[in-house]
């Protein structure tokens, strides 16, 4: 009796295994197919004779990367992207931290309308925003350049300051636009995150004698770290991948960001140099991967056990 039961259950597990194996095989094939382009990009980037076909490289070379940094202004593009997107991410996190906290704690009647208003910004497709945003930026640009011209008469200094602080074709403008585009999602993430942090911690801190700033510094920020990591990662990766805004709001080659540089290189080169382009793609991907690796440590960090229930 017992033996019968066992053998039938073994049958079940065997067929189970077989069907599972088939499922895994299918999944592996599909993922291999999907990952093909990435293999190709990575292989071709180091292949002295890169072509548009997936092939095992004959040797390994760093020439393509050298080419980017030596002959093209690759370093400049990377730095521009890192500085602009990095600053935008930090700015986004600061605003989202304050905004998310306030929106989480307030009980005011305008809370919901405002939250939905904020996310609306995210829902409108960015191209639809370009014209009105450009108009506003143009206005601000005239104003700031007026200020700069008043501040100094030295043309070289004027140019330098203008590059920094211009709203169009300047670092400040791009940083602010990236920040504005990434802020809605970041605020929502942070708001939801603060919702999950009981008010008790702040009250306990208040009774422990912590000032507002000390509460933020020692209690709220550490507890909200996973939230900041998630919001920051999304902001960084979205802004890093953004092509449209740098295209619309910069013109001088000194301000060119990585995606723009890549795009223009792609257009300019007559005979397509796959090695060069794939090396660019690798460089372009790397920071996003690094950002993810960096954020992952905090993302998985969850705090529990502080309050009962």
């Amino acid at each position: 009796m017992v033996a019968v039961v066992r053998s039938s259950s073994e049958d079940v597990t065997v067929t189970h295994h077989a069907s599972q194996r088939r499922a895994y095989l299918t999944l592996v094939l599909i993922s291999l197919f999907c990952m093909m382009p990435f293999f190709w990009v990575v292989l071709a980037a180091f292949d002295p004779k890169a072509s548009q076909f997936l092939q095992i490289p004959q040797g390994v070379t760093l020439d393509h990367f050298k080419n980017i940094f030596a002959n093209e202004s690759g370093m400049r593009w990377v730095l521009n992207s890192v500085v602009i997107v990095g600053s935008a991410t930090i700015l986004t996190l600061i605003f989202a931290g304050f905004g998310g906290y306030a929106l989480s704690r307030t009980q005011a009647w305008w809370k919901r309308p405002l939250l939905y208003g904020i996310i609306l910004v995210r829902i409108v497709p960015p191209p639809a925003l370009i014209v009105p945003v450009y108009k506003v930026m143009l206005f601000l640009n005239d104003w700031i350049n007026g200020l700069i011209n008043q501040f100094t008469a030295d043309v070289e200094q004027q140019q330098m300051l203008s590059r920094m602080f211009s709203f169009i074709d300047g670092y400040l403008g791009l940083i602010l636009i990236h920040c504005a585009m990434q802020l809605p999602l970041a605020i929502w993430i942070m708001k939801t995150f603060f919702d999950a942090i009981p008010k008790d911690y702040e009250e306990a801190a208040a009774l422990d004698g912590a000032s507002q700033w000390q509460t933020v510094r020692h209690v709220l920020i550490p507890l909200a770290l996973p939230g900041f990591a998630a919001a920051g990662l999304f902001a960084f990766i979205n802004a890093w991948g953004d092509f449209l805004m740098p295209l619309m709001f910069t013109s001088s080659p000194e301000l060119q960001t990585l995606p723009l540089g890549m795009f223009r290189a792609f257009l300019r080169v007559d005979a397509i140099d796959y090695g060069f382009l794939t090396a660019l793609a690798v460089i372009y991907t790397l920071p996003a991967v690094i950002a993810f690796a960096f954020a992952r440590k905090f993302l998985t960090q969850t705090f529990s056990g502080g309050v009962k229930g």
Partner: protein, 361 residues
Amino acid sequence: MSHIELIDIKKNYLGTEVVKGISVTIDQGEFAVIVGPSGCGKSTLLRMIAGLEDISSGELRIGGKVMNHVSPDQREIAMVFQSYALYPHMTVEENIGFALALKKVDKAEIKRRVMEAAQMLELEHLLERKPAALSGGQRQRVAIGRAIVKRPKVILFDEPLSNLDAKLRVQMRTELMRLHREFGSTVVYVTHDQVEAMTMAQKIIVLHNGYVSQLGKPMQLYREPENTFVAQFIGVPKMNLLRGKLQGNNFYLQSGQVVDIGNGYTSGNDLQLGIRPEHLKLQATSTQGGWTVDVVERLGVESFVHLHNATMEQLVVRVEGDCELAADIQVNLQFDAASCFLFSDKGQRLLRKPAIEQAAG
């Protein structure tokens, strides 16, 4: 000096009054327990004392100083939260020492005082752990450690034991009383558990719907409840209440049964007779006792017999030791006349006229 005076304290939440005018004085070093059913405003009152909640009207004084608009950290108060609220990203040691670290107390001194608190609470071996790796009782002790390390003049507790199992609760009760003796801080302790109130308090404040229903020493509340709410809230099982009318010494229940409650009370209709389960005696089972057994709860040391009569009025009787009664058996009851309370229809305690007056009138 750290006595607490509440003078006509009220609290409104958007128009609804949840604390409706409370005036209480808690003496220095006293262990005061605020007790009441869920939602009666206990936490709100405590949070107003702590400064976490604005006081809508009235005056709060601690040590003689008006505290209405003093920020929480300036009140020299510590609070143990209903939820513990341990900082989950800090170790036990950091949790306990946080208040001192904020005050820029010398590192060695912090270490010394944290160790001292930890020894008192038997937490030495847990100092390196995070709250997530602690049991409920250990978290509770860390929360207490965080409060006492500041050497506050006043410690507030909000239902600190409500999440612990029965055995640990008993243990923590004695712990807390010992700590109170050692520290001499004024303690305000909120609970909905009347057993905690009875065992720990030097003064009990019974809250009901935002009002103080009665306040006094534990046994005073037990012996002299001023109304049916306190009468039923203090004591387990709760006091039995029976409606009826009084003529002379005889209380007529709705079922027509008569109880002799002794002399001194003024006759009247629509009254309530109160008697505690421990002041009732079951008499040898008879066939027409008028009370029918529903359920018997047998605990070994004592048994509680639930009864009903012809008009389905319910009663509980405490019987010393074991009691083997089958359901549906008829029994007779003997009321201890001296222990009978009389309440008005609305639930106010009615008093016996003193003997001299009785003689005169």
